[in-house]
Symmetry: C2
Subunit: 138 residues, 2 copies
């Protein structure tokens, strides 16, 4: 559900949030903070480009991630139903990860936000500079 | 810039991210984690509904936020050019906060993601239950 009128979108979010029980509210925030975590977003993005993918290949694509952090990230994404993990009984065993349809939908929801932030970087840099200069002048 | 073809959107994000210098990359991640922080999103959402708004009124609307945390959140949003702070020299002084056009644009970018997560809550709950049940059975 997306409304072309901004006020409708704001209202829809307010209504949806107001209808949540405290437990659902906690869960929604937990999922929000999880999916907007840098490593999670990056892994989802990489799997969005090529799925399925082996652990070692994902590790190559997600620059700077440690093996431990990647394992943890993939496990959380699997737990939330965003990624599937498939083991092939070969020697050595092959493990492949892929986005689920929910994971793909999520990716399509956050990519515009991510792209917008990257495009707005000069605006953010200028804003911070102005703010710091004003503080220094006070 | 938003592409209706998912593959184009993924490609555009990849290209945009690849073009970043390491410093820009750090900044983009910093801003992403800042704006997806629960309190920031909530404040932006509240100011999206009514701007300008006084500090005490924002504090009422953003349930559970401490005065200290709200001050910090507003200061960060101001620093990033997402919120303006205006002081009226009355007795006692009145301070009003409002979304900037960039802040409003950001809100419109993340509302669909937030709404989608709220709508998908049953899917996430089911996924976690399945995962826990499978772990328990192993």
């Amino acid at each position: 559900m997306f409304h072309t009128n901004p006020a409708d979108t704001i209202g829809a979010v307010t209504a949806a949030c107001d209808a949540l029980t405290p437990e659902e509210d906690r869960l929604a925030r937990d999922i929000m903070s999880r999916v907007t975590d840098t490593w999670s977003m990056w892994v989802i993005h990489v799997l969005g480009e090529h799925s399925p993918m082996r652990f070692s290949r994902i590790a190559e694509q997600v620059e700077g991630v440690s093996q431990k952090m990647l394992t943890k990230t993939l496990r959380q994404l699997e737990r939330d139903g965003l990624v599937t993990r498939r083991i092939f009984m070969e020697v050595p065993p092959r493990v492949e990860y892929a986005l689920t349809p929910t994971g793909r939908e999520l990716m399509l929801k956050f990519l515009p936000l991510w792209l917008w932030i990257v495009e707005q970087l000069p605006v953010f840099v200028a804003a911070r500079r102005t703010y710091e200069a004003r503080l220094a002048a006070e």
